[in-house]
Amino acid sequence: MLELKNVSFNAESDGENVGIIRDISLSVDDNRFIVITGPNGGGKSTLAKLIAGIQKLSSGSIIFDGVDITDKNITERARLGIGFAFQQPVRFKGMTVLDLLRIASGKTLSISEACEYLSEVGLCAKDYINREINASLSGGELKRIEIATVIARDVKLALFDEPEAGIDLWSFNNLIRIFEKMRSDRRGRTIIVISHQERILNIADEIVVISDGRILKQGSKDEILPEITGTESAVNMCSKIQ
């Protein structure tokens, strides 16, 4: 179980100390599929980074599986079973897709195992396995490889930051299948997806709407979805989806 208690994050912006995340409390039970949504700049990515340890909390605490991880670093949290797929994946000159998947899996992954992860994200494995993760990869390819690095790990909590962004129609059919498979592969695995995509919101057990650093709404899909699709914020969301 993941528990955020009064989590805040402040940052300097134009010499002013602004609240990016303001006193968020949230608890997520095991084996849940949570979708976080809300307007651009609302603080979704920041919240995910706070959970993964990439940003340090200004105040509050985070409890994961009964352990207070507030002061644990990125590596320690990763080893406790937290995985994170970045909104904007990083490139590595010289490192190949196979190298990265091997690091992700934490074992001497065979080529055929690595290929399976790539196939799951819809990449033709033999074309990609030895590709360098450099500027020659397209944004969508990079994004899929990023997702594969999280699939390759045996995580208890998987965070995906806008996994559908930049990838073609494949996402609608396969991304959802990936999430469902991840959940059924491991009992008790929790998935938190940040998304603006209605199809993804549709399969959520629970939707959390974050705006201006606060939880604006939270509840089951049936409660939240009609609300946000019937308000102005839905207009924003739709224009983003296009």
Binding site: T75, A78, F86, V90, K93, G94, D99, I103, R153
Partner: protein, 308 residues
């Protein structure tokens, strides 16, 4: 059969990937002497009379053969200059594996200065792999100052892979090439320095024939208190194309001076240079840490990939 001790065997393995006596032509040199040699019907190796070193003659038309000429120094305090000349006939396709490994456990400096000259015949292809490696914990320095001179005849192709990843205290590498019409040179250098090491790497590539092309790429990492100077120069004196690139990572107190330079003496010379120096991107470290690596492990992986 050759007598080698364990240190020598390890050094041969590091620099030439040799677990055993190689196939094809070879000359193995240890502590200042040739210890084993093999020639083939097409490849002749002879000791020089006047100075230390060998002449290697490859007959025209020789294809898919290899020549291994690794050198190891395992005694402290040896200093040697070795002259190796390669005469490659026309229409050949050969692999040459050179390299030098120094193990210095003593207090005296060990130094190997290899001067390699290549005369590559028309339309021949040569792949040249050179690895330098140092080990041993003595206070004596491990010094390598290779000079490589390449003369490329029309339509010839040379691919050079120059690698120095570990343990060489001081190095001054000079590579000079001259390319006639339609000749093509591709250089990939990989350099890593650590501790107090100093490395100077100088390339001067002269494109004198129409249609000649050169691509000289150096990737390097300077860690601890080490220093590198990379001086990559391409001169275009014909209708040619040239590209040089220095791409470096600095860590700790490492310092790098990158001086890519171009000289165009012909209106149809198309020359490009690029240089970038920077520390490891924080985002790269963060990504690998979210996969469970420590910061130090993440650095190691990023550097391994970069220098691969």
């Amino acid at each position: 059969m050759v007598q080698m001790d364990a240190v020598q065997k390890r050094l041969f393995e590091e620099v030439a990937g040799l677990h055993d006596i190689p196939e094809g032509a070879y000359n193995l040199r240890a502590n200042g002497q040739s210890i084993s040699r093999n020639t083939t019907a097409n490849i002749d190796i002879r000791s020089k009379e006047d100075v230390s070193g060998i002449d290697i003659h490859v007959k025209a038309g020789t294809k898919n053969e290899s020549i291994h000429i690794p050198v190891v120094l395992s005694q402290s305090g040896i200093k040697e200059d070795v002259y190796n000349d390669f005469f490659i006939g026309e229409d050949c396709d050969v692999l040459i594996v050179a390299g030098c490994g120094i193990d210095n456990c003593g207090s005296q400096d060990s130094e190997h200065d290899g001067i390699h000259r290549f005369y590559i015949g028309k339309n021949s292809r040569v792949r040249y792999v050179e690895k330098h490696y140092g080990s041993g914990d003595g206070s004596g320095k491990r010094i390598l100052n290779p000079v490589t001179e390449v003369h490329m005849d029309e339509g010839s192709v040379m691919e050079m892979e120059m690698v120095q990843i570990k343990g060489v205290d001081s190095t001054n590498r000079t590579t000079i090439a001259e390319l006639k019409a339609d000749a093509k040179l591709v250089v990939q250098e990989r350099l890593m320095t650590h501790g107090q090491q100093q490395a100077y790497s100088i390339y001067k590539v002269d494109l004198i024939g129409d249609g000649s092309a050169a691509d000289v790429v150096s990737r390097s990492v300077a860690r601890d208190d080490s220093y590198q100077k990379l001086d990559l120069c391409v001169i275009g004196s014909a209708a040619c194309s040239g590209h040089t690139e220095c791409d470096s990572i600095i860590m700790d107190n490492g310092r790098i001076l990158a001086v890519p330079s171009l000289e165009a003496n012909n209106i149809d010379a198309a020359l490009v240079h690029e240089a970038a120096i920077g520390k490891i991107a924080g985002e790269q470290l963060v990504k690998l840490m979210t996969l469970g690596l420590t910061e130090a492990e993440a650095e190691e992986q990023i550097i391994n990939g970069f220098l691969k």
